[in-house]
Amino acid sequence: MLGLTRKDAILLAIVTVVALLAPFILNPFPTNSGFAQFNAGYPDLMQRFAIFGIFAIGFNILFGLTGYLSFGHAAFLGVGSYAGIWMMKLLTANIIPGIAASIVVAGLFALIVGFISLRRSGIYFAILTLAFAQMSYALAYSVLTPITGGETGLQLKLNDPRVLDGALAPGERAHANLFGLDMTSSIEMHFGAWQFTFNTGYYIAALVLVLAFYLSIRIFRSPFGMMLRAIKSNNTRMTYTGLNARPYALAAFVISGMYAGLAGGLMVAMDTQVGPERMFWTASGEVVLMTILGGAGTLIGPVLGAGLIKYMENIISKINSGILHEWFYWMPDGLEDFVITLVYPFVGKGWHLTLGIVFMLVVIFLPGGLVEGGQRLRRLAQGKRAKKSATQTNPAE
């Protein structure tokens, strides 16, 4: 189906269903319960899951397949965002031209950066990409202020030309939209103590995520994907098989840059603003973490990694000492304070510490990331089942 094997088609179907039902799946706790703060089913966060999922899927096409570790991919995301917002300022608040421009401009930029950086491999390649990204960040911050808005960045303004859009009614703001469908519009659904939000922006991002995921499966399974894995596996044999590894790697670099641009374009489509911090090196590092955490070189891993990190960033970081006191109020006073003192460094602003520990545990015990964890669990379960059936059949023999 769709040129996919049965297994891949099932994976795509699962991703599609989960993406469609995310507002339910991510909001398992009743709105008024103590656990409601673990609900992630609000538009802002769901959009981020989808967008960073796309970013990580694209990064994985480069890193997971070819093994080239870019430390500057946030630059493409940022450039995509700037291109997108300019389209929305000059042409129309309809997101289509903006997103198209994001992909194209990020792709062109990736072509330049990749062409230069891919002259080296390993650590030197990583450093070159990092240098480009930091340069972009610094430029966006300073000299390029006329284009980037400098530190404050760019937002949609009332006096933007938007030549394709009609004049706004007095007092009306420009809304990012898809042929009139407002990105920020949502439908709320109440179901007993539960509340679910279906947001236009999220569903558009989710649709793009599914398409991006499908495309990545096709790339992984294509002869082109096989060539990319061959580069990672043995560059010497690649060369002595008459293959020029560099254009293959460059193609992968540009594709992953375009994915990053797409993510950047979707970001401005959701919140209609952009600032240079989007290109800071920590943002580049984050997508590396996402990919490795989920499982580099696997199809679904980067999406899982992106989800986990964004979940922790938004949920764990909101746990403050007040919430901790609520949780542990039932303990004797001395013990309560003690436990809270222990837990406190890992939540709230300390969520990075938790992330760091999770990351270390995964890298040490599950080098294949969350996907490997899942595979091990499955094998464990299958092993047990096999053993059970073996013991069941034994007496009959």
């Binding site: 082109f224 061959a230 010497t236 044999r237 060369t239 002595y240 098989t241 008459g242 293959l243 293959y248």
Partner: protein, 253 residues
């Protein structure tokens, strides 16, 4: 004129003259062995032929065209394939995928953006790869990771991958080094079969005299970067200079 003509090639590494005035002519559709003691410059010569090293002076012509200054992948596309001293295969890929890559390389050249391949075309490549594996007795392992194969089978696969490109000249650098006797004999049989079945020129560097005398039609003896003699295996066996420079040394060792 041989298919490969090496003329007056010199290569220095610092103070070491690794190759000095090497002249070599390999006739088409023959098996030509290059022997010589350790450090004689055999691998260096091979690296010059495949474009990994640029000689200081001299010329290397393959089928009337100079290979010097071309990239290794370009030289490969001219029709020269190389088997390495330790097998170089795609360890993370399956055996079948290993075999598909040279077939794509043969079909499409050094680069093609075949992100989307028609099912029919891809099936044809898979079929070709499977036939090749069948002829190498590796078909049962086709879905295994190639890294998990035995040394002998890795060598078979590597040779098969080179053949899948239908090269006109196959270069082998000590293909049986570090192999058990049985694997060595398998490799000899495989190379004999290749020689009988195909129009192909083989240049082989080898330490194992058993391998050399089983396969070679001509032998060049290299010592200290210079060809000492070149002759048929029978003549080489009896050559006093060779016994002194090379065979004598192995007998003593």
């Amino acid at each position: 004129m041989g298919i490969l003509e090496v003329k007056n090639v010199n290569k220095r590494f610092g103070g070491l003259q690794a190759l000095s005035d090497v002249n070599l002519s390999v006739a088409e559709n023959t098996v030509h062995a290059i022997i010589g003691p350790n450090g004689a410059g055999k691998s260096t010569l091979l690296n010059v032929l495949v474009g990994k090293l640029l000689p200081d002076t001299g010329s290397v012509m393959f089928d009337g065209q100079s290979v010097l200054g071309r990239k290794p992948y370009e030289i490969n596309q001219m029709g020269i394939s190389r088997v390495f001293q330790t097998p170089e295969i795609f360890g993370d890929l399956t055996v079948l995928e290993n075999m598909m890559i040279p077939i794509f390389a043969k079909r499409d050249g050094a680069f093609r953006m075949h992100a989307i391949e028609s099912v029919r075309n891809e099936r044809a490549v898979v079929q070709q790869a499977e036939d090749m594996l069948e002829s190498l007795n590796l078909a049962d392992a086709r879905h295994d990771h190639s890294a998990s194969m035995s040394r002998g089978n890795k060598r078979r696969l590597e040779i098969g991958m080179c053949l899948a490109q239908e090269p006109r000249l196959l270069l082998l650098d000590e293909p049986t080094a570090g192999m058990a006797r049985a694997d060595t004999n398998n490799t000899i049989d495989l190379l004999k079969q290749i020689k009988d079945e195909r129009d192909i020129t083989i240049a082989i560097i080898e330490h194992d005299m058993h391998v050399v005398f089983s396969l070679a039609e001509r032998i060049t003896v290299l010592a200290q970067g210079t060809p000492l003699v070149e002759d048929t295996p029978d003549k080489i066996k009896g050559h006093p200079k060779v016994r002194e420079a090379y065979l004598g040394e192995t007998a003593a060792a």
